[in-house]
């Protein structure tokens, strides 16, 4: 809890996201194409295009404390459809990385109880996306 509070106090959000993703949330025109095609949108606290708006407005808590970036599985559907050619999967990765690099994981490796049943690439993929 302390780590996320400190992170939210210190982070230059827009600058950091742009640096990590090489994409600009400012280019978003809030058309909602990303949300309309996202297969996981029902699970997200906040729609992807709203996340971009919050990044631009420096609403750090709304970006880092909602689950949107963790629900994104980098399927790239939004990235190939965005009419502004924003590679949205990269922005979501940037937001994930900001948290992971503050030493805050989204999955506890010890809590995965059926690891032997799972295919290897699922385990590697999940730990790569959700642990720092």
């Amino acid at each position: 809890m302390m780590k996320i509070k400190k992170l939210m106090r210190d982070i230059e959000l827009l600058e950091k996201v742009e640096e990590l993703s090489e994409q600009s949330p400012n280019a978003c025109i809030q058309c909602g194409t990303c949300s309309a095609g996202c297969p996981f949108v029902d699970e997200m606290d906040v729609l992807p295009e709203r996340i971009f708006k919050y990044i631009v407005l420096d609403e750090v808590e709304k970006v880092l404390e909602n689950n949107t970036m963790w629900i994104c599985a980098a399927c790239y559907t939004c990235s190939v459809r965005c009419p502004r050619d924003i590679d949205i999967a990269r922005i979501m990765e940037g937001v994930r990385q900001i948290i992971l690099r503050a030493d805050i994981d989204n999955v506890d490796v010890d809590e995965v109880d059926n690891i032997e049943e799972l295919p290897q690439l699922a385990v590697v993929g999940c730990f790569r996306k959700e642990t720092g």
């Binding site: 640096e19 990590l20 993703s21 090489e22 297969p39 996981f40 029902d42 699970e43 629900i71 599985a73 980098a74 399927c75 790239y76 559907t77 990235s79 190939v80 590679d87 999967a89 990269r90 990765e93 940037g94 990385q97 999955v107 809590e111 995965v112 690891i115 049943e117 799972l118 295919p119 290897q120 690439l121 699922a122 385990v123 590697v124 993929g125 999940c126 730990f127 790569r128 996306k129 959700e130």
Partner: protein, 284 residues
């Protein structure tokens, strides 16, 4: 010294949960006169591509694999796994496009020869595309009584710079399946994500995806779902237990092997396809 056949990168899953795919693909490719020859050594690709600009560290494993191919005198590497294809291809493209990254990579790998950026990544489908005549010739008996839902998932189609076909309206898999004589449903869900690695800690999300994807195939009358990604296979097969459906999920090379009359084992299937295959007169 180049190998006689395609220089094949398996990746981790092919040796365990995805072994039905590897074994059937080996037999099919041998039959088609395009044998796969496994690389002498290889590393796990990392399964998912790292998308951060400054993260060169996670490109090291895929590039080390490409470097081993280069040093073996090979300029092409073939994968079966869709996720390995995607990761290796994106890493390879990044090294071609970003000279600074290639330089940093080679400085880090200072005990190895430099990676020159020339190894091309291909997927099984790229080879099959050139062998349609041979596929047709090898079909012992067309699988005419079988209704199939083709399913691509994400990693062969997106992002668009690594896509093997049209990202929104692919037809490459259908073009192979037609040669086997099957009837195809028009599968509107074929490019939608199966839930991917959420299977590890958010299986509830995957179950909803499976309900949607398999439910569509079932309503359209599909007897089975056919695909080429071991993670999609696990998700669509294993997680059907949370739904009302029970449709077998096969790798495309399993179905191709059966059509060719080749004997294959099917060990890693939560939904046993045997009774369906017997009912359709495909397997005794």
């Amino acid at each position: 010294m180049m190998v006689e056949g395609h220089y094949y990168y398996p990746g981790c899953t092919m040796k365990e949960k995805g072994s039905d795919y590897e074994k059937s693909a080996m037999k099919v490719m041998e039959q088609l006169g395009e044998p796969l020859v496994e690389m002498e050594d290889w590393y796990c690709c990392g399964a998912v591509q790292s998308l951060s600009e400054d993260d060169i560290m996670h490109q090291i494993a895929p590039i080390r694999t490409l470097l081993m191919a280069q040093e073996a005198g090979e300029d092409e590497v073939v994968t079966l796994c869709d996720m390995c294809y995607n990761v290796l291809k994106q890493a390879s493209e990044r090294m071609k496009e970003k000279e600074d990254d290639l330089e940093t990579m080679n400085e880090f790998l200072d005990e190895d020869p430099d990676y020159e950026g020339g190894v091309e990544i291909y997927h099984l489908f790229h080879i099959l595309k050139e062998k349609k005549g041979e596929i047709e010739e090898n079909v012992e008996e067309p699988l005419e009584d079988l209704v199939v839902a083709p399913y691509y998932g994400c990693m062969l189609l997106r992002p668009d710079h690594v896509a093997i076909d049209n990202t929104e309206d692919p037809e490459i898999m259908e073009s192979f399946l037609k040669l086997l004589g099957v009837e195809l449903i028009e599968n509107e869900k074929r490019t939608e994500c199966c839930g991917s690695y959420h299977t590890v800690n958010r299986s509830d999300i995957v179950e909803k995806r499976v309900e949607d994807i398999v439910g569509y195939a079932a309503r359209e009358g599909a007897d089975m779902i056919v695909l080429s990604c071991p993670l999609c296979h696990f998700n669509l097969d294993y997680h059907q237990r949370a739904t009302e459906f029970e449709i077998p999920v096969l790798y495309i090379t399993e179905l191709m092997a059966l059509a060719f009359g080749l004997d294959i084992e099917m060990e890693h299937h939560s939904i046993d396809p045997t009774s369906l295959l017997e009912e359709k007169g495909i397997k005794e």
